[in-house]
Amino acid sequence: MLLIDCPYCGKRPEVEFHCGGEAHIARPEMPTAVEDADWGSFLYYRTNPKGLHAERWLHGHGCGRWFNALRDTVSDAFVATYEMGKPRPDRDEATASSPSNA
């Protein structure tokens, strides 16, 4: 079970959370102005990196807040968690692979 550092509550067990998929995919300001292909990408196309991945998480059985996290998809290490609206932190792969439990 992962240990996830909620930006509001600190480290809490995975069962309290719900993963909401890739982060930083902004809903277009005016969806009706978006071309079909772009809208299709917005809906369905996601990156699947081996390494750092920015994800949305909901601390549903906790403070109820959505937040973003940088997780290494190889090691499952959480390199950073940050509040919604904040930019993706600048972290490299090396940080991710160091042994730590987030």
Binding site: M1, Y8, C9, R12, P13, V15, E16, H61, G62, C63, G64, R65
Partner: protein, 188 residues
């Protein structure tokens, strides 16, 4: 015309007996208000109608017991559970709303939604930890803590009143499960 409150409030569960030194006791109905407000909108108000809202996330502030009891559980950055005497709900709602006229907030009576149990006695933390995966050491979760979390397969709000004294609150339809789970856990 029928009188108001013809019907008496019905208890959700009947008490189960735990055989160990840790007791699990259903608590009498309390007034509970789900209170939401963005921290900025509080504009520095530390207290509203006697409820101390200044506590950190996942903490519990409380004043007195009985009729004048005011407990505030801060469950998230913009969410509190306000607890008061069962027959004080309307008065508290009016007072809080009056204090926040023109300020965006939400106040919802959820007194009937939730049921609480006290879990008390030496080893109460182990009983809660039988189904709750968070760190309940006094260092990580001292007296005065309160948080939403998990017990087995149910969501709970957990308060620690003292080292060996917890309050477990859950939605009413989960109450028989939560009570059964806790009582089973007292068996070690």
């Amino acid at each position: 015309m029928l009188e108001r409150n013809l019907a008496r409030r019905a208890p959700t569960v009947s008490p189960l007996v735990s055989e160990s030194s840790v007791t699990v006791t259903p608590l009498d109905p309390q007034g509970r208000l789900a209170f939401r407000i963005k921290p900025a909108a509080l504009a520095g108000r530390g207290t509203i109608d006697g409820f101390d809202l200044s506590g950190a996330i996942n903490s519990r502030t409380s004043s007195e017991e009985g009729a004048t009891m005011r407990t505030a559980l801060r469950l998230g950055p913009d969410e509190w559970m306000l607890i008061t005497a069962a027959d004080e709900v309307d008065e508290r709602c009016e007072a809080i709303s009056a204090a926040l006229t023109g300020v965006a907030h939400s106040l919802v009576d959820v007194s009937h939604r939730d049921v609480s149990f006290s879990v008390e006695g030496p080893g109460a933390d182990s009983v809660v930890n039988s189904g709750c995966p968070i760190d309940l050491s006094m260092r990580a979760f001292p007296a005065g803590s309160a948080t939403r979390t998990i017990l087995g397969k149910a969501e709970i709000v957990l308060q620690r009143r003292a080292a060996d004294s917890f309050t477990v609150t859950t939605w009413r339809s989960f109450a028989p499960y939560v009570q059964g789970f806790l009582v089973e856990a007292t068996r070690g």
